[in-house]
């Protein structure tokens, strides 16, 4: 099936298998390996990208379902040759080891910073909460890191959220 989408600001027209996920489209057809396949079932978050500005598991989106969408992957997160402040902070705080969950963590954090509203750990749900470490931990729990870099991930995101 023919679809068109914007990927990191570049229009892409592709003929895709209707069984193909957005993740496999990025990785196997468009040469964008930043989004990672960790579980293919929406359980680990390694494939997180931004679809029309919102964070989403690209393994759970069929490619045909994102026809016409704007997709941002970690390769396009900085929007240029430099680094996004989150990328800088992840490096400085050593917020990764193997690096396989990192693109998903970064896209998820970028999406999360733009999400208003309370979470399960917010005391007063009528007020937009500050992004305390507890709020960040809660909001980032869709992105697993088996190397166990959570402590550093939270400190990296905290620095950017400030």
């Amino acid at each position: 099936m023919d679809i068109t989408l914007q990927v990191n600001g570049v229009p892409r027209a592709v003929d895709v298998d209707p069984r193909m996920s957005l993740l496999d489209l990025l990785r196997e057809r468009l040469g964008l390996i930043g989004a990672k396949k960790g579980c293919d079932h929406g359980q680990c978050g390694a494939c997180t990208v931004l679809i029309d500005g919102r964070r989403a598991n690209s393994c759970l989106a069929l490619a045909v379902a994102v026809d016409g969408s704007e997709v941002t992957t970690v390769e396009g997160l900085a929007g240029g040759d430099g680094l996004h402040p989150l990328q800088e902070a992840f490096i400085e705080h050593d917020a990764f080891q193997c690096g396989y969950c990192t693109p998903g963590q970064l896209c998820s954090a970028a999406g999360m910073l733009g999400e208003p509203g309370p979470s399960a750990v917010t005391d007063d749900v009528l007020v937009d909460p500050d992004l305390t470490p507890a709020e960040i931990r809660e909001r980032m729990s869709g992105n697993l890191c088996r190397c166990g870099a959570y402590v550093n991930i939270v400190s990296a995101i905290s620095e950017v959220a400030r």
Partner: protein, 676 residues
């Protein structure tokens, strides 16, 4: 220092095994056994072969040519016998991933099933004493008279702990991309912890000279042991690529990983300890029961920490193994030491209560002068220092030992301590160093699986050469580079670093290049007991309503020789402790007694710690000078972080609630069941 590959990792440019752009690549998707034991009577690929894009189906119906002495887990499609549910029994190859998956699903397999046995029990009639336990320790040891020691003790305990099947679950699923050239040479991009050994094993399995195989593994998305030995997916990719005459990519699914990439054996561990009125051990016995497959013997060294930890006049350790209709267990972060120390350090806590002693004090009183089993002197041992420093930082002196009395609303609060220990070994390695255009290039077939090896070796080379790290370029992850041992056993930095230092020293002498092989140097290492030690402290909050355990504080104090890089080391320790938290509270794969194989074969059911599970983790280390380890004076730190964490948390749960949960993981159900 910041990781030298940090920028490619945060921009999505780091290339993992499945991600190399290869012209004309095709995809293979495995078919797995649906029975746990029996025979494959027929593999019917007729429908699959008519499906779109399908290039071939490989199975036992036309067995691919392999070496006769191939390892049982790697001898793909050679036998009709099924050894475990989930074993790879066929593979479909097609032009796209979607077509390969659909074709594999269309392969029809007929079986002649037999009765299977997948249950580990301490009274299993098939239990036997293995010759050695991983990697080469004696299975049993005995010194002194344990029964007499227990008889004369003022306080004794006799307790049994169990640990479940656990899966490594690195974030990157195992993948291999295989390419044959016209001369019968094979290139495999593999997710492996060691390209040199992977090359050897793949070549041997395929009956090729090692010089005909090259393995490349520049970035690896975690391994924790399960990418340490060659796994079937790599052989599968090579066989499929040979059969279809095209490059083939195999990327296992998360579910398939549970079946064919190894796991931590379940254990049943009985500990009998006795102490005199002063809290000095009179006897220590540790017996471990474990499983392996019918294909390969893998015997984990679960009871070995007892040979290292405490002074006692009577010490007995034993391992018993039973071969079941299961997949072969393998290495998972600190195999042996991790589950073994969980049980030993939990038992020490129980003994402290039985003897009326503080658990820190009990360990201090039993700190040995020499290694208890071997009698060898320690190269360095600072367990007592770690315990004292940890107690000071954690506020241990304010602890009331009474269990089950601290309450904050629905939450019961408690603290616990446990010791950590891990061997500090090194293995022979080669390395080369050259200077070009004023920059230094270091080559070694090491692997960076997230440990920071590339960065640590850069720093080691720079310090040896006396230059800034940005003038050093380390190349690793390729079997064409100088041979190096696997990233495992916390031996990577010590092994590769020794060779890098020697190569750089030679370069400085002749001004142009240096080549090192540390085989001779290591052969003359003096006989000493070399181990890293540590102490871990945990504070937990246990909900009386839900049984939920929250770990509010973890502190690790380690003595691990010279720390090569503080930033990387802290991440390693924290990472190990985080995985230890998972072991304590959530990680468990259920064995399917009825059908064989495993249940909970994904990350929604096999829970690993998520961001919200990890609150405050503090790590410090003692400055330890030990010149008798290696040129860096370093001890490996990849595994000691996970050793002891689960015991510290379990002991804290006991302190909070008064309950001893002796079967990991400590789930809410176990807390609630014990209370009502």
């Amino acid at each position: 220092m910041n990781r030298v590959e940090a920028r490619v990792k945060v921009t999505g440019l780091a290339t993992y095994a499945a991600e190399y752009p290869v012209e004309g690549v095709t995809y293979a998707y495995p078919v797995q056994s649906r029975i746990a034991k029996g025979r494959v009577t027929r593999v019917d690929a007729s429908r699959a072969l008519t499906m779109p894009g399908v290039l071939g189906v490989l199975s036992v119906e036309d067995p691919p040519e392999l070496a006769e002495d191939a390892d049982g887990e790697l001898a793909l499609f050679q036998s009709r016998d099924v050894a475990y549910r989930g074993q790879l029994i066929a593979v479909a190859v097609a032009d796209t991933y979607e077509n390969a998956r659909a074709a594999a699903d269309a392969v029809r397999v007929s079986y002649e099933p037999a009765d299977h046995d997948v249950g580990l029990r301490a009274d299993h009639p098939g239990l036997y004493r293995p010759e050695v336990v991983n990697p080469d320790y004696p299975a049993d040891t005995e010194r002194g008279d344990v029964e007499a020691g227990l008889a004369e003790a003022a306080a004794t305990i006799d307790v049994t702990y169990t640990t479940p099947v656990e899966h490594n679950n690195p974030m990157e699923p195992h993948a291999a991309l295989a390419l044959w050239d016209g001369d019968g040479r094979l290139l495999v991009y593999d997710s492996t912890q060691g390209t040199s050994s992977d090359r050897e094993t793949i070549a041997k399995t395929l009956g090729l000279p090692a010089s005909h195989v090259r393995v490349v593994s520049r970035h690896v998305g975690g391994g924790f042991g399960c990418k340490g030995s060659t796994r079937p997916h790599a052989v599968l990719a090579a066989l499929a690529a040979r059969a279809v005459g095209r490059p083939v990519k195999v990327a296992l699914t998360r579910q398939q990983m549970f079946d064919v990439t190894g796991y931590r054996t379940p254990t049943i561990q009985r500990l009998r300890l006795g102490a005199d009125a002063d809290g000095r051990l009179t006897a220590l016995e540790h017996v471990a029961y474990e499983q392996s497959s019918t294909l390969v013997e893998f015997a984990e060294q679960t009871a070995t920490p007892a040979r290292v930890m405490y002074a006692t006049p009577a010490l007995r350790t034993a391992h018993r193994l039973v071969r079941l209709d299961v997949a072969t267990p393998s290495w998972m972060r600190a195999p042996g030491e991790c589950p073994g120390m969980y049980a030993l350090e939990s038992a020490m806590d129980e003994l402290a209560y039985a003897a009326g002693l503080d658990p820190v004090e009990l360990r201090v009183r039993n700190d040995p002068e020499t290694e208890p089993e071997s009698g060898l002197p320690f190269s360095s041992r600072n367990l007592v220092g770690c315990l004292r420093e940890g107690a000071r930082r954690f506020g241990w002196d304010r602890r009331d030992p009474e269990p089950g009395v601290r309450r904050e609303g629905e939450w019961l609060v408690g603290t616990g301590v446990a010791a950590s220990s891990y061997p500090a070994r090194r293995r022979p390695s080669k390395a080369a160093a050259t200077v070009r255009d004023g920059d230094f290039h270091v080559q070694v077939a090491a692997a960076d699986i997230g440990t920071g090896a590339r960065t640590a070796l850069t720093r080691i080379a720079a310090e040896t050469l006396g230059v800034a790290p940005d003038r050093v370029h380390v190349e690793l992850g390729d079997s064409d580079l100088p041979d190096a041992p696997v990233a495992g056993g916390s031996m990577g930095t010590a092994s590769w670093g020794s060779a890098v230092v020697r190569a750089c020293e030679e370069l400085m002498k002749n001004g142009s290049e240096g080549h090192a092989d540390t085989t001779g140097e290591i052969a003359t290492d003096s006989r000493l007991a070399r181990h890293a030690f540590g102490a871990q402290f945990a504070e937990v909050r246990v909900s009386e309503v839900t049984g939920e355990v929250r770990v509010s504080r973890l502190l690790g104090v380690f003595a691990a020789g010279h720390i090569v890089d503080a930033k990387l080391a802290r991440s390693q320790f924290i990472g190990g402790m985080t995985m230890g938290l998972g072991m304590a509270l959530m990680e468990e794969t259920h064995t399917d007694e009825e059908f064989g194989g495993f249940l909970r074969r994904d990350l929604a059911q096999y829970h690993v710690p998520a961001c919200a599970d990890v609150q405050h983790i503090e790590v410090v280390w003692l400055d330890e000078q030990d010149e008798r380890l290696n040129p860096m004076g370093s001890k490996g730190i990849g595994e000691i972080g996970i050793v002891g964490t689960a015991a510290a948390i379990g002991n804290a749960v006991h302190h909070a609630t008064g309950l001893r949960v002796r079967n990991l993981p400590i789930t809410p159900a176990k807390i609630l069941m014990a209370r009502f």
